[in-house]
């Protein structure tokens, strides 16, 4: 299990990296934490002709508080840095819940926040979290910059809107309004294993206890993370009740997801998990929002 030969570039600035990506086109690939790319190369499932290693570019790794109460996270920020950041804990407790479930400590020391999003694994947590938190993604190429909303970033399993000469540079998470609660719920075979199904919710209440926003995303049950329309339609404008939450769970599990059967679980079992996890996630998020 060894990768095929490839060319290796180790730029020391973003500009230099973009120059390489522009020259290499389809032959080139970004190497971030390597925790998904290198195993795929070891199996020879991935056979890039050249790698552009971002690990020597310190300016791509940071966690910066923004004026609206949110955070700007540089793509090369290690998962373990996000996991242990006081700013993240304070502004996005949802991430604090999620991070320890991603792989194992040694992998989080290397894997990157942006790399996980760019990788677009349907079983990965961070693509879904970027959607549920309404992230804005900064995409760079030589001589150009564009911003993509997380909701529009993922096209299919391991497929995003990124062109070969582009790279994800920054993930901006907008601040959350007061009386917002969140909750992450997952079931996996063992700690650190990919989830069989997972649900993340972010909900906001007004002073009268009515729901003003309900975003809920489901993981491992479709080609891309699935943002629930039912959650928004049924919950917003109402006081959340167990009946309303159960209705969301029912619609989400029966109509909104498209789970597959594999060696880990059947599609039917995944539907069952979603039904349970939606209820847990939404009711916990509302409890937290009411505090």
């Amino acid at each position: 299990m060894k990768p095929i030969p490839f060319e290796y570039f180790a730029p020391t600035s973003t500009e230099e990296a973009l120059e390489h990506l522009a020259n290499l086109g389809y032959n080139g690939k970004v190497l971030a934490g390597g925790q998904s790319l290198i195993p795929a190369m070891n199996f020879r499932m991935a056979r890039p002709g050249a790698l552009v290693d971002l690990n020597g570019i310190p300016e791509l790794a940071y966690i910066k508080p923004t004026a609206d109460g949110g955070l700007a996270i540089g793509t090369m920020t290690r998962d373990s840095k996000v996991e242990h950041s006081p700013e993240v804990a304070q502004r996005f407790p949802l991430l604090l819940e999620v991070m320890p479930n991603i792989a194992h400590p040694q992998i989080r020391n290397r894997g990157t926040f942006g790399g996980s999003i760019a990788h677009a694994d349907p079983a990965g947590q961070l693509p879904a979290i970027s959607i549920v938190l309404n992230a804005n993604l900064k995409v760079l190429k030589k001589g150009g910059e564009r911003w993509v909303k997380a909701e529009e970033f993922f096209l299919g399993p391991f497929m995003t809107v990124l062109e070969p000469e582009e790279m994800l540079a920054e993930v901006v998470l907008p601040g959350l309004p007061p009386h917002t609660g969140s909750s992450y719920q997952q079931v996996s075979r063992q700690k650190g294993g990919y989830s069989l199904a997972a649900v993340a919710s972010v909900v906001t209440l007004d002073t009268a206890g009515k729901c003003t926003s309900a975003r809920m995303v489901m993981i491992s049950v479709g080609d891309v993370p699935i943002l629930s329309e039912a959650a928004t339609r049924i919950l917003v404008g109402q006081k959340p009740t167990p009946e309303a939450i159960a209705e969301v769970a029912e619609i989400a599990a029966s109509k909104e997801i498209d789970p597959g059967t594999d060696i880990h679980a059947t599609a039917e079992y995944r539907r069952h998990l979603v039904r349970v996890l939606v209820r847990r996630s939404l009711s916990t998020a509302f409890e937290r929002a009411a505090k």
Binding site: Q35, P39, H104, R110
Partner: protein
């Protein structure tokens, strides 16, 4: 295919070597430097046998290329202790029967060394979290957890 010259400090010794970009760090340590203490189980990040310290932090050496270690510092199990003067973790693994075949042991030790430095008095739960990325097919883990607690005691009384 072009090779790259890398300069890397391993266990305090500086090495300068020519490597092909596709050389895994684990293979570089074992085959180019002859440091066979680092074990290789799966080469896709699952087993943890290849865990080393990269600039002081535990990482999978099978999921890095040697060329990426240029200018960095690597610590392998060879630096932990000697048969005459074992690290408290090694003593504790020995005393608590925390290994049978020993294949997984270097990875556990290199994961646990920095863990005990930041968690001098760990709970069972913290220990289980710390080693959730290391597989052992022999021990059933209970003896490993006992050994970690014993190592923590040894380290506390010695410092």
């Amino acid at each position: 295919m072009t090779t790259h010259t890398i300069k890397v400090k391993v266990n305090g010794v500086e090495y300068v070597r020519e490597v092909e970009p596709r050389r895994l760090l684990s293979d570089f340590l074992r085959h180019d430097l002859g440091l066979t203490g680092t074990h290789v189980g799966c080469e896709h990040g699952l087993c943890g046998a290849c865990t080393i310290l990269f600039d002081g932090e535990p990482v999978r050496s099978c999921l890095m290329f040697a060329v990426q270690a240029n200018g960095h510092e690597v610590t392998t199990v060879e630096a932990l202790g000697t048969p005459e003067k074992m690290h408290p973790l090694q003593e504790a693994f020995h005393e608590k029967h925390a290994l049978q075949c020993g294949y997984c042991t270097p990875g556990f030790l290199m994961t646990l060394k920095p863990f005990l430095e930041t968690h001098p008095n760990p709970t069972d739960e913290e220990i289980r979290e710390a080693i959730d990325g290391n597989l052992c097919r022999c021990t059933g883990y209970e003896h490993i957890i006992e050994a970690v607690k014993l190592a923590a005691e040894k380290m506390a009384t010695r410092s």
